[in-house]
Point group: C2
């Protein structure tokens, strides 16, 4: 049960944006710009970084929804998402993406551990400034979303409910992040 | 030295908002709404929660600037900020604020540890839904800012440079959070 009174029919981050729409709007706009706006990384890769960080933070709502969005966006390569969540260092992805995920992992635990050596290795495998920037900001942003969703104990469908998450992933893949319009007069 | 090329004359979060203004704008608007908009908590208390979380994340830029903003806003009670950073459980603050800081500490380490019992204790000491919500969102938001600033190794004046931080705290206290207007054509 959530720690505060939230709209009963709403889940996760959406229930929080309905509770406080003025901050919710900025959070949805940040997600839309970061995950759907211009970037050197594909939308599927950005959703994968979001899912990866959320998985490490054990945030069921965020990792299930963003893993589903990433699977939808990777299309025929959808299985890469579960390889990455289970063991990213041996997943069938580029060396560059593995190194960006290593940077994301540092940001998730203690951002001060992103080392010059790790960044240099990512660069030598093709990463440019914008890849590094967007990876760090996506990882940091999901450290916010994960904490907001779990710190208030928002309603989350079971991780095993594959159909619910697949439908949510398809919506996020097709429509992106659109803030709820109004406060529900709680 | 920062991990990516940032405007040389700019510090911390500002250098990142100049590097990528579209995300920077949403981050500054979030900070302004959350720390200066309508809330059941005072601006000084909200800056204190921001400084407290940043201190625990060992983010020198964020804890120094928000501690300074909180000292400026607490006016004659400025010394409360250092009491809280050093030992909040024995600081001369209300039981309610101590319990909100305990909630913020849980959010900083693992948001899933915010327990029903802790929230109930905060309520029995006067906390309402909005106090709990804003505390969790401020704590979560600074887990983003801290990681963004340190994950890209942005330029930070030394923590000991009291004059620089006091001037920054006064600016933040008076003017709030205003995003840089333009990309600097890096």
């Amino acid at each position: 049960m959530p720690h505060i009174t939230l709209p009963e029919q709403s889940l996760g981050i959406r229930s929080l944006a309905e509770y406080r729409p003025d901050t919710g709007q900025h959070l949805y706009e940040l997600a839309q710009t970061l995950l759907r706006g211009e970037s050197s990384l594909s939308e599927a890769e950005r959703e994968l970084i979001a899912a990866f960080v959320s998985y490490r933070n054990q945030c069921t709502f965020c990792f299930s929804s963003h893993a589903a969005a990433s699977r939808y966006l990777f299309q025929d390569d959808a299985q890469v998402v579960d390889f990455v969540l289970n063991d990213y260092e041996n997943a069938p992805i580029s060396a560059k993406l593995k190194l960006l995920l290593s940077i994301a992992a540092c940001v998730q635990t203690d951002a001060r551990t992103v080392s010059d050596a790790l960044v240099a290795e990512a660069r030598s495998n093709g990463a440019v400034d914008r890849d590094i920037h967007d990876t760090v900001l996506i990882a940091a942003t999901f450290c916010l979303f994960n904490r907001y969703v779990d710190g208030l104990a928002t309603i989350t469908p079971p991780a095993e409910d594959a159909e619910t998450w697949a439908a949510m992933g398809e919506r996020l893949g097709k429509n992106g992040y659109v803030a709820p319009k109004t406060n529900l007069n709680l």
